[in-house]
């Protein structure tokens, strides 16, 4: 019997050894796969176990965290939700994250390895660092001015600092309150369904995620290309431009909204916003030079990040001459985000140089120590400095005695360009009103702000004009920045 007792003992030992081996398999060998299974809620629980880091505007947080005492403990709050929604995005327990909440998520939620006091420290202690803060470049006065200006309309504003590329304002209207989506309950689900069903698409960040035909504001690009290419030598020399202008190779006749465009000088044509002159000028400059200039401004670059992705602005390069004519006045396949058009204005104001726009000034630990700073950004030349000086003249002319008078600021140098962009099937849609501009205070050495405003809706064509609707909004934003 002894022998068989020993056999049975070995059998029992084998059972227990099998348990140990299997435990090692589950807990060590397959642990990572199980941990990262999307159905495993532990990561989510840990993520909401601590308050999330904040997004700061001018030193003050525009986000917060609320202790709900629920299983997923902390929920995001947004004291000024709709105002900053295009900047912050939302951080939802149910629907993920967008905008800065998305791109800076690892820092805000405290999992970024850079937050750890020592390498592998968190892996060893199983602790999570307090979420870091994100300091933005937004100017709260400019942001509020843009939001107030657009309040009852539909549209977007982007403002940048020409000398650096810092984004000063990023507004999209209609907006939404991201706080509605923070939780995981019925409120969040209802809000999500409602916001997604809304035909006005309030969650769309129009300033960077939507492209519009830029219309006449694109004439800044066309003029710069023509000046750089030497197609235009003297702004005050009469051009040989018929009115109406028959698009090359077609019988389509392009007309103007304004009178006095026939053979107008480039300066006159720019102030009056003559389609005929600039369509012909674009054709004369040629698709290669047009493309080169447009791309140096940032068109056709689908991978701009500020740090969230900006929709690519386009300038179609496979065009015939008629299409090039239309492209040169911001129609046909030419499309731009408001941010892109702000960069166009900024390039003129900044001596022809384009600086990549950015939204995050620096990131810090919860204690305040700096994690990273924006640092210096690459610079591109969009036009010769001499061209930039002449372009500044043209844009000042628009504000001083052209279509952009409403953007004038006493005591400051302001340049701008209006635009009214046709769109829709057979141009049936309500046209978009554009205004792009820059401003330099009386005592400033350089331009302080460049703005692009687009207003989507208006009851009739008279009020939707870029000069009438969009210019006052641009002025309010520029004033907010220039004000000490």
């Amino acid at each position: 019997m002894t022998r068989h007792i020993r056999h049975a003992a070995v059998f029992c030992a084998l059972l227990l050894v099998a348990l140990l081996v299997n435990a090692a398999r589950v807990q060590v060998l397959h642990a990572d796969a199980y941990d990262s299974n999307p159905a495993n809620r532990r990561d989510t629980i840990a993520r909401y176990q601590q308050p999330r880091g904040d997004i700061l505007v001018d030193g003050r947080p525009v986000t917060g965290s609320r202790d709900t005492g629920e299983h997923l403990r902390y929920e995001r709050t947004y004291p000024l939700g709709p105002l900053y929604a295009p900047v912050t995005g939302f951080a939802s327990q149910e629907y993920g994250t967008t905008q800065l909440e998305h791109t800076e998520d690892r820092l805000l939620s405290g999992v970024a390895p850079v937050l750890a006091p020592l390498p592998l420290w968190n892996e060893f202690t199983r602790s999570r660092n307090a979420g870091g803060d994100v300091v933005t470049t937004i100017d709260p006065a400019a942001q509020r001015a843009a939001y107030e200006g657009l309040r009852s309309r539909k549209g977007a504003v982007a403002a940048v600092e020409p000398s650096t590329g810092r984004i000063l304002a990023l507004v999209s209207v209609p907006s939404y309150d991201p706080a509605l989506l923070s939780g995981n309950g019925a409120t969040a689900r209802d809000a999500w369904a409602r916001l997604n069903a809304d035909p006005d698409r309030p969650m769309l960040n129009r300033a960077v995620q939507r492209t519009y035909p830029p219309g006449s504001t694109f004439k800044v690009v066309t003029a710069a290309a023509a000046l750089d290419a030497g197609v235009v030598k003297n702004l005050d020399e009469r051009t040989d431009s018929p009115d109406p202008y028959t698009l090359p190779g077609t019988r389509t006749r392009l007309v103007n909204g304004a009178k006095g465009c026939a053979d107008a000088t480039v300066r006159e044509a720019f102030v009056l916003s003559c389609n005929t002159v600039f369509a012909k000028l674009g054709v004369a400059t040629g698709v290669d030079r047009m493309r080169e200039t447009a791309e140096s401004f940032g068109f056709n670059d689908g991978d701009v990040r500020i740090p969230f992705r900006v929709a690519g602005s386009t300038f179609d390069t496979s065009v015939d001459r008629a299409q090039l004519a239309l492209s040169s006045i911001g129609q046909y396949n030419t499309r731009a985000t408001p941010l892109q058009m702000a960069m166009v204005a900024a390039a003129v104001a900044g001596g022809g140089q384009v600086r990549e726009p950015y939204l995050v000034e620096r990131t810090t630990r919860a204690g305040g120590g700096t994690v990273s700073t924006a640092g210096s950004r690459p610079v591109r030349r969009a036009m010769f400095p001499a061209t930039a000086i002449r372009m500044r003249e043209l844009m000042r002319g628009v504000v001083e005695d052209g279509t952009g008078k409403k953007a004038a600021i006493p005591g400051a140098v302001v340049g701008g360009k209006t635009g009214t962009a046709q769109h829709g099937l057979g141009n049936s849609g309500t046209p978009y009103a554009w205004f792009i501009s820059w401003a330099q205070g009386g005592e400033d050495m350089e331009a302080k702000v460049a703005v692009a405003v687009v207003v989507e809706d208006a009851a009739n064509r008279r009020t939707i004009s870029g000069g009438g609707t969009a210019a006052p909004i641009a002025r309010a934003v520029m004033e907010a920045v220039l004000k000490p």
């Binding site: 049975a8 003992a9 029992c12 159905a39 532990r42 629980i45």
Partner: protein, 467 residues
């Protein structure tokens, strides 16, 4: 392994007195250690959750300490030669179980289980003391062979009359307490098997026909095993309790093998078991579902229904990794239903890690090993079989439930001995430890030339005869 009882006797010569008191000293030291470890765990939960030592820590430690101390005194008085490791293992596992249940109670404020478990633990220790004090000689149990089996069968069948709880008819409800009579039945069955097999060993070893290398048993003695198999299948079908059925049958096969030494029994046992398993797996949707879940633990996730309990259990074990999250810091409560009972090991795995889990499994291993050691040291066949049976019972139960929650075998509802919530289980396990204490003491007494005479048939050495 080569020499049997005679050698064992000469290896442990008298005088015993000094050694025996030494053993009790070791036991006392280990008990103090076990109580301190449990109190430490209790404090660790509080510190991790609230940053303070929980208010009940002193009371918990004192309660557990007093229980353990009284049990120790009973052992010291009535079983002075017993194995000094058995009682401390029971205390430590029970204390740890209370800590884990208390810890899970924090996640389910409306449904506290630790106080009830403490009452049951007290009852269990009382039963332990009772067994140690009253049962002076384990051979007395032999007289109750048929009483044991009758009571066991009644206990197994009674729950059929009660409504099913969570798909299994294994509970009866009396005065607010849920009792699982099948738990008590296991010990009684072990007693019955040991007594029956000890009495009928020689008859059962008659060889029947030989097929290849297997010596088949004769048809005449095939009756009992078929009967036991039938009972276990009936239990399975009527109560839908795969675990108890498996345990019950496994225990019988192990004891039959030890008693007769016939590999044929194992072959027959495995054949019948697989026949039963296949038939039941096909016919019972409940069991079939368990097997499907075992084979594809993440199928429900892929189907968009969220993780099932096995998946959640695996997630918990995986989260624990090597060193665990620390007591009170895991999320095993996501497992949901039965997290404090069948799935208690997942909490241990998550919060104590592979290190802690291995320690727990090794504690069970040590308990089993001590049981087997008592079995080897004893000379009467009944005692030997009873010790082996009880030890195997623990090993099989640990394997079935721990293997189930870690995805090694299909999950069958069963309590982790000592750790899991469940009064019947705790009480039963204390009875098992008490019997092992008694058996190890008897082994020591017989070797020490104890006062009680050892029956003639028990002194025979079968080791040589079979070689």
């Amino acid at each position: 392994m080569s020499k049997a009882g005679n050698t064992l006797a000469s290896a442990d010569p008298p005088p015993p007195t000094a050694r025996l008191t030494g053993r009790r000293g070791v036991e006392l030291a280990l008990i103090v250690l076990a109580v301190l470890l449990s109190v430490y765990g209790y404090c660790a939960v509080g510190l991790a959750r609230n940053g303070t030592v929980p208010p009940g820590a002193a009371g918990y430690g004192a309660g557990l300490g007093v229980l353990a101390l009284v049990a120790h005194l009973a052992v010291r008085w009535r079983a002075p030669g017993s194995d000094p490791v058995l009682l401390p293992i029971g205390v430590l596992l029970n204390g740890l179980g209370l800590v884990l249940i208390y810890r899970l109670d924090l996640e389910t404020p409306g449904d506290p289980a630790a106080p009830t478990q403490l009452i049951w633990s007290t009852l269990g220790v009382a039963l332990f003391i009772g067994v140690v004090l009253v049962l002076r000689d384990h051979r007395v149990l032999q007289r109750y062979t048929y009483v044991s089996v009758t009571v066991a069968l009644v206990l197994l069948t009674v729950p059929i009359l009660f409504p099913a709880v969570n798909g299994a008819r294994i509970w009866i409800r009396v005065a607010g307490f849920s009792i699982q009579p099948g738990e008590f039945a296991k010990v009684l069955l072990a007693v019955f098997f040991a007594a029956y097999l000890a009495a009928n060993r020689s008859a059962l070893t008659y060889a029947g026909r030989r097929v290849w290398k297997l010596q088949l048993p004769t048809g005449r003695v095939l009756g009992p095993i078929v009967a036991v198999w039938l009972v276990s299948v009936v239990v399975l079908v009527l109560e839908r309790d795969l675990g108890t059925s498996l345990l019950f049958f496994g225990l019988f096969v192990v004891m039959l093998y030890v008693a007769t030494g016939r590999t044929g029994w194992i072959a027959v046992g495995l054949l019948l078991a697989s026949l039963g398993a296949v038939a039941v797996g096909r016919l019972e949707p409940h069991v079939h579902h368990r097997i499907e879940t075992w084979l594809h633990p993440f199928a429900s996730i892929e189907a968009g229904e969220g993780p099932n309990q096995i998946a959640q259990s695996l997630f918990a074990f995986a989260e624990g990794g090597t060193l665990g999250t620390g007591l009170g810091l895991g999320h095993s409560v996501l497992i949901g239903f039965a997290v404090k009972s069948d799935f208690i090991l997942a909490t241990a795995g998550e919060e104590l890690g592979l290190a802690g889990l291995s320690a727990i499994i090794l504690l069970y291993g040590l308990l089993v090993e001590r049981g087997y050691r008592a079995g080897l040291a004893l000379r009467d066949p009944f005692g030997r079989l009873l010790a082996v049976g009880l030890a195997s019972l623990v090993a099989l139960q640990v394997f079935v439930i721990a293997g189930g929650v870690t995805g090694l075998i299909p999950l069958t509802g069963m309590a982790m001995p000592f750790l899991a919530q469940g009064g019947s289980s705790v009480v039963t396990n204390w009875a098992i430890v008490a019997l092992l204490v008694r058996l190890s003491d008897s082994a020591r007494q017989q070797d020490a030339g104890g006062s009680r005479p050892v029956p003639r048939d028990a002194r025979e050495s079968d080791g040589g005869a079979l070689r």
